[in-house]
Symmetry: C2
């Protein structure tokens, strides 16, 4: 057990691309739990695209992180001291305790998990918020029917990789969009996608037409920009779009101009922007199913692991650039 806490703070609000200088790493004493609190030693930190939004002051669905505050982030760790009757020393818990080695909490939003069901880091990805996002976005918003075609962008990411596998379990044709042949090969050979289109190959529209010979009935959108615009062009009548993320624009200083709005009208498309916590009623059901499916080998996942809290800024920037494969996590212990 390290004898000091290490925290990553927000140092500047980035304009455009995030740089490592937008973060500040500090050391300080391990906090002491007050009455009613627990002290958690974090083992794993999750890095997710939504964090880029928290770094900006602009209006979003959650308040911005303040300058000088610890960066927001999901974590899995061990309770090492408890003054809260709901938790015992040794409990393994997930929560959003931030980019730091130790955190105290009154227990709100902290959930115990079974360390024997799946590897701990999976609770930050396939069996955590990204997995539940895939489950809710696909099954509740896209509502795919057997035989339909599901298209998902960022197909090998933490969310997209689950979307594709859930689509296959629904009896759908699963088509991914990813950057580069390595990711596309992984999507097809390891995750079981029927096809994966490399948007970097420069022929996205024609490649999508070929990969989706019956058009697209469900679009699970994580990327935005030209990738989304081109995907809108291959939608079928009465198709559904779950708008989950727009990562291509998160570091842009000027918004992309989406040209295929007409497809939404002509095809009578239903587009729904969503975040997973709007359906908190379904969260535990989704995670419970995903844990069982992962434990049974029915759903596969991959992680890109950064080592040590001090690597988190670099790993985060890499993830925003698509350098990771699967879920990006940071190993803290």
């Amino acid at each position: 057990m390290a004898d000091r806490n290490v925290q990553v703070l927000l140092a500047n609000r980035p304009e455009g691309w995030v740089t490592e200088s937008d973060f500040k790493i500090v050391e300080n004493d391990i906090p002491k739990p007050k009455p009613g609190e627990i002290l958690i030693q974090n083992h794993w930190l999750s890095l997710d695209p939504y964090m880029r939004g928290r770094m900006s002051a602009g209006k979003s669905y959650a308040a911005a992180t303040e300058i000088g505050d610890v960066m927001t982030g999901g974590t899995v760790g061990k309770v090492i001291s408890s003054q809260n009757p709901k938790f015992n020393e040794g409990d393994i818990v997930v929560g959003s305790t931030g980019w730091q080695l130790y955190a105290t909490s009154a227990g709100d939003g902290i959930a115990k998990v079974d360390p024997n069901a799946v590897p701990l880091s999976a609770y930050l990805g396939v069996c955590g918020m990204p997995g539940a996002t895939a489950w809710i976005g696909l099954l509740e918003h896209c509502t795919p029917k057997t035989g339909e075609t599901v298209l998902v962008s960022a197909a090998t990411g933490a969310v997209g990789s689950v979307v594709g596998q859930l689509a296959k379990m629904q009896g759908c044709r699963a088509v991914g969009i990813a950057g580069g042949p390595k990711k596309c090969e992984y999507a097809v050979k390891q995750l079981g996608f029927d096809a994966c289109v490399d948007y970097k190959a420069g022929n996205l529209y024609e490649d999508l037409k070929a990969a989706c010979p019956d058009g697209v009935d469900c679009l699970f959108e994580n990327v935005g920009g030209e990738v989304m615009d081109t995907s809108l062009a291959v939608l079928n009548p009465f198709s559904r779009v779950a708008l989950c993320g727009l990562i291509s624009g998160y570091n842009a200083t000027e918004a992309y101009g989406m040209k295929m709005i007409r497809s939404i009208l002509v095809n009578r498309v239903n587009v729904r922007g969503f975040i997973v916590f709007d359906r908190i009623d379904l969260y535990q059901k989704a995670v419970g199913q995903l844990v069982r499916w992962v434990a049974a080998g029915k759903i596969r996942y991959h992680e890109t692991v950064a080592e040590g809290i001090r690597t988190a800024p670099k790993a985060f920037i890499g993830m925003l650039k698509g350098e990771n494969l699967g879920k990006q996590v940071v190993k803290l212990t």
Copy 2:
């Protein structure tokens, strides 16, 4: 009764703005109904934005009109000869019999209407397809609740004017967007909108913010382009967008680039493209209610009337440019 039929044909597929030379006006014999058919003398022709789509070869929700074919269009007229037991001479009927003085029909899609309930031309507007479009788009797709704010573009048009009045009947704040002070004054003083923003005044975002102090819960979109883009910027969390039309782009050679897609994600907006005939199950209910409300003076409407079939091309182009107030019709007899 004229002794010749006059028809307006599609002569060319316009690139960009429609011109009168894209139409050809021809005279020919009044058609004779075959067994099972009726002959209709049209009294009124409807001119609607969707017709611009039929003039192009591009994929849309309905097949394009072929070069040399009679232009598609809704009509109300009188059965002057019947060889179909479902219709009698003298019946007043609505249908889509095209830009012409006389038409034969086997009766499919032809509905008898009560000539004493409302003026005949109303069956092409407030008590016809545009009114039903407003009813279904607002009540089924936008689902406004009492106290919410409904924003509608092309607010004084055939659809928008009904949307605003239905929104008021639902106990909502109704805010319109229209082009020019005359239309905005009409929306507020005659139709009962709470406010109307003139998009031509050049200050749309600030004016929308002022007109919608509590933001927008329902956007009924008829226009697209910059008007829609700016409207997306004032949406509330969990708002609904009924995407009914994109008239600002129908004559454009290059698609507008919509920048505020992020608002759909951040505000978890539900955007639904729709056309009225997808909810044919609700059409008669909607029209029935609208006829009663118009007859009772609860819903008001205005028409811009062109005189004579030969003026239809010019009136159609004027409507696409927003020169009409309310419903654009052509008086044929």
